[in-house]
């Protein structure tokens, strides 16, 4: 067990160091950054805010990590967020009650995921293309549900999901932390994680070895849909309204970025959910840091682009090959 913990620490060390450096830089420039206050039975402060605001991307990153580990990608998560947010808002205003509303929204997310999984696993369409369909059509469907308007609601129960607090932490943070722990335990305490990696490395070989890769792929996309649904509910609950046009817009890219920052290769195989979650926090820290620093938010995207480029260079198989070659020759 000790060896396992050490291995995990070595795996997530680069991400932890990056996060620490970013936080330390912000803290150095703004000494008050780490102040945490306790009021109204919950904690307040910039670090708590990062946990809270990073919730949608963190949730998406959990599902995205599993999808990317199978050598796939899920472009539809932003649109699925919009659909599920719209369903939650319209169901609660129609008077279905909170449990049924949540069930319907989460069910819709799973259905979207099953659809993607079916296209990828059964029809054998490339994941980018298969999920592109729902990405394009999904926002249209969401607008159909909200009838083009921003659907607002006043239900305190649903709003609690987005702005309530539990055990002194904001509800969104509690949700993504618990989902992250649950999924990480599920894939690492069972053989599921290994099987997912096997499918990602070589689908044909793992099928021949007896892994039911078709079922596994569909499950992975369904989990991604479920995570997107939860993220969509949080975003809608936070603003007490469903905005079909802007909810989750471009979040699929942030989620992919979080996974890549977390060191999971886009070429499939080995993955780490914890590293992806730290990646999501790195992205949110950069966002918050830029805001706190009073930098114009315009620079946000440029900085993100530079981070992606730096990681690309570090992850590049070509560079990796060159490093091995160097070591051999010396």
């Amino acid at each position: 067990m000790n060896g396992g913990a050490a291995r995990l620490l070595r795996r997530i060390a680069p991400q932890l160091v990056t996060l620490a450096v970013i936080l330390a830089t912000i803290g150095f420039v703004f000494p008050g950054f780490f102040n945490i206050a306790f009021a109204n039975e919950r904690l307040y402060g910039s670090p708590i805010d990062i946990l809270n605001r990073g919730a949608p991307v963190a949730l998406l990153a959990i599902g995205m990590t599993l999808v990317i580990a199978t050598r796939g990608i899920d472009l539809s998560v932003g649109a699925v967020m919009a659909i599920c947010g719209a369903i939650a808002a319209s169901a609660i205003t129609a008077g279905y009650g909170l449990p049924l509303t949540l069930l319907m929204a989460l069910g819709a997310g799973i259905a979207c995921g099953l659809w993607n999984g079916l296209l990828v696993a059964v029809l054998g369409i490339q994941p980018i293309v298969a999920t592109l369909i729902l990405m394009v059509a999904g926002r249209g469907i969401a607008q159909l549900i909200t009838e083009g308007a921003i659907l607002t609601f006043n239900d305190a129960g649903l709003a609690y999901v987005g702005s309530g607090s539990f055990a002194a932490l904001p509800m969104p943070a509690v949700l993504w932390l618990s989902v992250g722990v649950a999924v990480a335990l599920l894939v690492r305490r069972t053989a599921l994680g290994m099987l997912i990696e096997a499918v990602g490395v070589n689908r044909r070989a793992s099928s021949l070895a007896g892994v039911s890769s078709r079922l596994l792929l569909i499950t992975v996309y369904a989990i991604s849909g479920l995570c997107a649904a939860l993220a969509g509910i949080i975003v809608a609950a936070d603003i007490r309204g469903a905005d079909a046009n802007n909810a989750g817009l471009f979040l699929e890219l942030d989620a992919i970025l979080a996974v890549v920052v977390g060191g999971t290769s886009l070429l499939g195989g080995r993955f780490s959910i914890i590293a992806s979650l730290i990646g999501a926090m790195i992205i949110q820290s950069v966002n918050t840091g830029i805001l706190v620093a009073g930098f114009p938010p315009e620079f946000n995207l440029v900085i993100k682009a530079c981070i992606v480029l730096a990681i690309l260079v570090l992850q590049s198989p070509a560079l990796y090959g060159a490093a091995i070659l160097l070591r051999r020759t010396s």
Binding site: I73, L123, G124, I125, Q126, I128, V129, A130, L132, I133, L134, M135, V136, A137, G138, R139, G140, I141, Q143, L144, E147, G148, A244, L249, L253, I256, L257, V260, L266, L267, P296, P297, E298, F299, N300, L301, V302, I303, K304, A305, C306, V308, L309, L312, V313, Q315, S316, P317, A318, L319
Partner: protein, 325 residues
Amino acid sequence: MNPRLLPFLATVVIFVVAYVICWLQFPAMLSTRVIGNLLTDGAFLGIVAVGMTFVILSGGIDLSVGSVIAFSGVFVAVMLRDTGIHPVPVFVLLLAITTAFGAAMGLIIHVLQMPPFIVTLAGMFLARGMAYVLSVDSIPIAHPFYDWVQTAYWLMPGKGRLTLIGATMLAVFVAGILLAHRTRFGANVFALGGGVQTARLMGVPVGRTTVLIYALSGLLAGLSGIVFSFYTSAGYSLATVGVELDAIAAVVIGGTLLTGGSGFVAGTLIGVLIMGLIQTYITFDGTLSSWWTKIIIGALLLAFIVLQKALLDITAKRASAREAG
């Protein structure tokens, strides 16, 4: 018959049938005015879709084009506002920048061996970010040259206007068709889409071709940005969000295989026109909401992708049968 022609023919049939349905319901649809508007409204999308066709034919993807269009608009608007330079040299400078930008992405894709998807994603962030840095406000463009271009059109029979930007798109398509199907570069692009390893063994200069493909996409995205600035008379950093997806959809609906190696530039033009037609129908109808556009385009995408998949399976089976026999 060559089964590769089938997606292209399906696109043409869908376009003609859709147009006939529109015409039966609204006889006014069949006029050169509507056709002229289709070309004008689709101009910027069509131009950028030509570049996207080359990228997809080579088996890649370019997510940066929407951001590059927005950057181009803001760049032109800022230069015209803050300096006294005539638009034409500004355009030349801009096209040089966007071409270099595309070439740089192609170089990174080739040298670092990274998936085009993630490299162009970084490009998308960078271009949009640079547009924000230049200006977050919508900047109006007022210049005599712009007034001249905007009023330049050829009156078609039936009072339809073929505007200069619509004609520019048609010219780009003609050039694209010649480049793809009649030159060595075009043949190299198709070879690359068939498989990088095979292409290399055939003697295709893989690196140079990759860089040129993305440079071409950057160049056409810049040109599309210029056309868009004529279309809207403004530069705005939040404009053309998601155009890369529209361009990809137009290419796929046009019958180009998303895995690369097979397709037609002319099909992309039909794809752009189909998307314009849906929009026009919704405008004519007046009761339908514009979000139907997205759903119909999504359904068309699905239909074409499944069709392509079926065709691929058939040709693969035929090939293996030939090998066995």
